[in-house]
């Protein structure tokens, strides 16, 4: 029964060589073959940068993070070098100790704020987006797309409007906002902080709060200590100028601390108020719950109406996980199966023949490739013409033949599809792994397109989602963008 069917299809099936193993094994197998499976961060559609193989995430521009770090480091180092010895001698050993602890807290929380995923929502998969579109079309009667798209939900007996995000192709959950700098929807979006070089959202708000509170303590502490230091030196009628001459670094510290203490203290106070009322900066600025909209019963529906509970829930609540799964491997098999399973068995056989033909073509450069399935004109014209056997980018790709449907999905992953072509292309591939930017994208675009069309003509058929116009393979970058976008939404 099932086993018979399984065995029948097995030799012709286009799934991975060892279908009995779970997908993870298949991915690992691919790794061992020499083609490293892609991690999800490498094809992330937002404008973030990743380091340490996806462990560290930052915004596209680091903003003034180096300046922030630099100021903190310089001030604290000057403090330890020039003021601490004096104060240690004349006052107490606790001063450098406290200073040290505060400094460590500040730096750690700053780095955590900068390098943590703020609560980025992965974009909707094409299926999800299509489903939502269908629902919208069903509820609305017009044939055109009416902007803006909103959905109303009841939250704690209050009406809240959810907006549709056109970039991420989903209705944003409450309190989620799309950051244009990072090009991501972020949950419980507070603000994008240039000082920290990252968005502040659900996951890193507590780090941010710890940072500004400990920084305000540190600033006040250093300011106080330096003032004490100068006062002690100026004792005995020697005057402030004398003290400053003896310790000029203290003057620098005083200036820095004086100017930053007001803003930092102010910011801490503001965020303490936000935490206590369970608000975000975004909501506060927009006045979402302040009742300006006119209705009397707008209050914050998320507040627990108890300061302590609000504080605890924001700062001490459970740490939500990162939803973007940066270090997970790209679901090669899944996406290939999604594509494959959408095609009838007959088409699969044709593809198989086609890829066999491709393999032969590439090997011998003599046989004509494929029969038709999908768009015959593209297949027949692009097969012989665009493949240049001498072109290293389109060299014989053993994985194309064994798993042709997987290759296009690999190739089309996000912005970095150009990196994921032929595994035999070792040197270039290595280069790409260290280089996230699509420098060679334009150079490879034609070869990628060619390979894409040869390997899976049926892919072209299934790749036209309902919302987008048909894929025109001969239309240069248009197709590329379209393919990229379709797969960008996978994440």
């Amino acid at each position: 029964m099932k086993h018979c069917e399984y065995q029948q299809i097995d030799p012709q099936a286009l799934s991975t060589p060892t279908p009995t193993l779970p997908p993870q094994h298949a991915v690992v197998q691919e790794e061992k073959k020499g083609e490293t499976a892609r991690r999800k961060w490498e094809v992330f559609p937002g404008k973030n940068r990743f380091y340490c193989d996806g462990r560290i995430i930052v915004a596209q521009q680091s903003g003034v993070l180096p300046l922030t770090l630099g100021l903190i480091l310089v001030t604290t180092v000057l403090f330890f070098v020039f003021d601490c010895p004096f104060l240690l001698k004349h006052l107490t050993v606790f001063i450098p100790a406290i200073g040290g602890v505060l400094f460590v807290f500040v730096v750690i929380s700053l780095l955590q704020t900068s390098f943590t995923d703020p609560g980025i929502l992965p974009r909707a998969t094409p299926d999800e987006a299509a489903d939502i579109e269908k629902q919208i079309d069903n509820s609305g009667s017009s044939t055109y797309r009416p902007p803006p798209r909103t959905k109303e939900v009841m939250i704690n007996q209050q009406v809240v409007k959810l907006k549709y995000c056109f970039t991420c192709k989903m209705f944003r959950p409450p309190r989620t906002s799309h950051c244009s700098l990072c090009d991501n929807c972020v949950e419980r979006f507070d603000h994008h902080c240039p000082w920290v070089g990252n968005c502040v959202g659900k996951r890193n708000y507590r780090f941010f709060y710890t940072f500004i509170v400990s920084l305000s303590f540190l600033t006040v502490f250093i300011f106080g200590c330096v003032a004490t230091h100068l006062a002690l030196r100026a004792q005995g009628g020697r005057g402030l100028m004398f003290a400053l001459q003896e310790s000029p670094a203290s003057a620098v510290e005083l200036v820095i601390c004086f100017f930053s203490v007001w803003s930092i203290l102010g910011l801490s106070g503001f965020h303490t108020y936000l935490v206590a009322s369970n608000l975000t900066t975004n909501e506060d600025i927009k006045g979402s719950w302040s009742g300006k909209s006119g209705t009397e019963d707008t209050g914050n529906p998320y507040s627990y109406n108890n300061i302590i509970t609000n504080c605890c829930s924001v700062l001490c609540g459970p740490m939500p996980p990162s939803l973007i799964d940066r270090r997970g491997f790209m679901p090669v098999e899944e996406s290939s199966q999604t594509v494959a399973t959408e095609v009838e068995l007959a088409a699969k056989n044709e593809i198989n023949v086609c890829t066999q033909g491709t393999k032969d073509l590439l090997e011998s450069a003599s046989r004509s490739p494929c029969p038709q399935a999908g768009k015959p004109q593209t297949v027949s014209t692009s097969c012989p013409d665009s493949i240049d056997p001498a072109d290293p980018a389109v060299t014989f790709n053993p994985d194309v033949t064994s798993d042709p449907v997987a290759v296009p999905s690999l190739k089309c992953g996000g912005r970095h599809h150009s990196h994921t072509t032929s595994p035999p292309d070792e040197p270039r591939q290595l280069h790409h792994h260290h280089n996230r930017h699509h420098k060679t994208r334009s150079a490879r675009s034609s070869s990628k397109r060619a390979a894409l069309h040869i390997s899976n003509p049926a892919y072209n058929v299934s790749l036209s989602p309902p919302t987008s116009p048909g894929l025109g393979p001969s239309h240069g970058t248009g197709a590329e963008e379209h393919v990229r976008d379709s797969f960008a939404t996978l994440h």
Binding site: M1, K2, H3, E5, Y6, I9, A13, S15, P19, T20, V104, F105, I108, S109, Q112, L121, P122, A124, T125, D127, E128, D131, V153, M154, I155, N156, V160, L162, M170, P173, P174, R175, E187, R188, R206, F207, T210, P301, Y302, T309, C312, S313, L315, C316, G317, P318, M319, P320, P321, L323, I324, D325, Q337, T338, A340, T341, E342, E344
Partner: protein, 159 residues
Amino acid sequence: MERAGTHGEMTLTGEKRDWTHSLQDMRQQAAIAAKVFIQRDYTNGTVCQFQTKFPSELETRIDKQQFEETVRTLNNLYAEAEKLGGSSYLEGCLACLTAYTIFLCMETHYEKVLKKIAKFIQEQNDKIYAPRGLLLTDPIERGLRVVEVTIFEDRSLGR
């Protein structure tokens, strides 16, 4: 289900492999007829809850009560993950005192519950949904936005 020859020894474990094979079969052979998305339910705020409304596309495939039971259990698990209580506060305060460095070493309560949820979904798939030609996708793979139910075509089943 016995196979001849080298697979003759597969008897006791045969049934278990049957389930796994049926899942693999479905993923590899069966065409996807449709996908149903169970959206989030925001009536209680931003906590992760899913709508228990029974989608019409599943009417022919599964019992309404069964399905609602699955979603309700899922909701309870997520509520447990996000619960504000003594233990979560303790974890939070301890983390704060150590400048949140313990998050680098320790697995958080939420992550532990997520593992439980993954196991629950796999179990449900194996026991209830796979035999009916359905497949639940763990919401974490969709960013906790939806519960994706894949409906496979009937031809590979019930023979």
